[in-house]
Symmetry: C2
Subunit: 370 residues, 2 copies
């Protein structure tokens, strides 16, 4: 039976390279004994239909298994039910996929579907993507980047409603949604300070990233506000190198800082990947988390944060919500509703787990037995 189905494809495909003629609105009309226009009205829920007629038509639709032809509809109305999604994923870093999921989920109740293109951060591919979108008469585009960043100043966005997610243009003329990395960084450090830490180190994200800049400034500002002096030797890089080809060096650097009687009681990590390495560095030295060192991450990348023991306290990036908001914004724009805010910075929320505690009282020595 299923085998026949397969055979079917091969037949159809071999013979003519096309599927059976679709059952059209006319077929439905004929069966229901009404005009095609009436069927169209029913399909699009236009009202001004006698309930009885409606029933008849719906039954005909049912028995014929009619589905509307979006291509025809688009041709007539120039209103597509497809939105474009551009991502710039590269390599195996699975970050920010939750943005896409947030978008997909939010689109779920609507009539919209997503045409997705991945540019691998290649400008040529990106241009091609926009062309594909034009070819398909797409009505709006989500432009999603893997890392929080500015879009290059000379990027030309076609005149299709577009929402930037996880990135923004320097002029902030294109609607955009980004995480508030600065606030997140501030709150992360504050959390440590509130728990009594004053000897705080910082293992920095790749400094080429905008997030690194934002979170880094937050670190310095938060310490300044708390009246804590920054120990320069305790601010070390966690990743170095070109952005899609960088190298994790958090382990070595954290190990060096920690391997010293005068060591920090808490470490702020540029993100959860770095936090993982800092963990490894701590345990490599026989130090316990959080008893000997508190560690706080950033991103809430759950494979890491809920996978390690003890689970990692971290600053969550509001990816799903950003995706949901992007959908609301884009649909609003398409519907012609003016936007109050063109650029929104979405709040990061602290996720409390078990990698942060109060620092041990000065003088007490680390216990390192099971």
């Amino acid at each position: 039976m299923v085998l026949e189905m397969l055979f079917d494809w091969e037949q159809r495909v071999a013979h003519m390279g096309m599927r059976d003629r679709m059952v059209s609105i006319k077929d439905v009309a004929a069966l229901a004994g009404v005009s095609d226009r009436t069927v169209s009205r029913v399909v699009n829920g236009e009202g001004l239909i006698r309930p009885k007629t409606k029933k008849k038509v719906q039954k005909a639709i049912e028995t014929l298994g009619y589905v509307p032809n979006q291509a025809a509809r688009l041709m007539r109305t120039s209103r597509s039910n497809v939105l474009g999604l551009i991502t710039d994923v590269v390599s195996t870093t699975p970050f920010s996929t939750d943005i896409v999921r947030g978008i997909q989920d939010a689109l779920d109740g609507t009539s919209y579907t997503l045409l997705t293109v991945n540019t691998s951060a290649d400008p040529a591919k990106e241009q091609r993507a926009w062309q594909v979108f034009r070819e398909h008469g797409i009505g709006g585009v989500f432009y999603v980047t893997m890392f929080h960043r500015h879009v290059p100043r000379d990027t030309e966005f076609p005149s299709t409603p577009t929402v930037l997610v996880n990135c923004s243009d320097p002029e902030q003329a294109i609607p955009s949604i980004v995480p508030d990395d600065y606030q997140g960084g501030l709150d992360a450090v504050r959390h440590l300070v509130e728990r009594g830490h004053r000897k705080i180190a910082y293992v920095v994200l790749n400094e080429l990233l905008l997030a690194a800049d934002l979170r880094g400034r937050a670190f310095f500002d938060a310490l300044a506000t708390a009246g804590i002096e920054v120990r320069k030797e305790w601010v070390v890089p966690g990743r170095v190198g070109a952005i899609f080809a960088d190298k994790l060096v958090a382990f070595e650097n954290a190990r060096r800082i920690l391997n010293n009687p005068d060591r920090p009681t808490a470490i702020v990590c540029g993100n959860d990947e770095i936090a993982l390495q800092v963990y490894c560095a701590a345990t490599d030295l026989g130090l316990r988390v959080p008893d000997d060192v508190s560690i706080i991450g950033f991103d809430d990348f759950q494979v890491i944060t809920t996978g390690i023991q003890p689970p990692l306290t971290t600053m969550a990036l509001p990816y799903r919500d950003m995706g949901a908001l992007a959908v609301r914004m884009l649909l609003d724009i398409i519907a012609g509703h003016p936007q109050k805010k063109k650029h929104v910075e979405y709040r990061c929320e602290l996720v409390l787990r078990n990698s942060v505690s109060s620092p041990r009282l000065p003088g007490a020595r680390s216990a390192n037995s099971t």
Copy 2:
């Protein structure tokens, strides 16, 4: 300037809910002084065109910025340049996203784009997805699952060319591509045996997963072949509970096994997440990897495998290649080429890193200083 662009959208959208009339083949024809049919020939590279005519047309296309209207083309030909992608992602597990990337990358040189739908493993949504695909006249679909599994026996696949990726139907009537978890499991254990291990534990994947079954059988078979007796108390669950709501228990279980003078010298982990917990368990006990325990993972989930110290030796799931193969198969089917193989099991390759060494000589005591 960019602001004007925005204003533009709002104008257009508010006034009529549609974009400017597309520049059509006729406009090009008029400018080039030829018939529309001729333009069509050029656009589709049909040959039988005088080079001079071709030039003229191409120039007109250029100056007008013409892009073909896929909707119109589809209507006429019933051959869509869009393929469907169904995924069943749920929760925050980022597994198997590389399959999707493999597909996207392989599609890159072609004229095809992807319409993606995420079902969240909800049958109603899945059915809706197929309808959406029909509405868009989609020519083929990739059905990608997050976990290697069988598709439920009663799943009805519409008569659209479909390739199952990371799953298969029990009858293997639908073309499908899955990883060879059994071979992978076998090779993983063999690697340990070759390094001299005979005291080998196994922290099992959620036993509801097909991969767990396959990898599990491989574990027992490999030990049997090597003439090693299985220690039942060293085979423990790493995850328990319903599939999309399971709980990691690898840490506790690994810790219990390891916290014993008579402990395994190597641990096979159901996947890399579990391996991460086993690491934590080992270091929690002051044990060193790989000196005191060797650990081998499964999946090559790089955030983990290259993030922890020492980096994790693991059995890689050939996700990208599976995606690429899926593209080849689907395009072949659409083109009417018969398939030699309907069901392929893709080989897993061992990735050597630093979490496996030979077991310490019996009698030598563990050193646990820095």
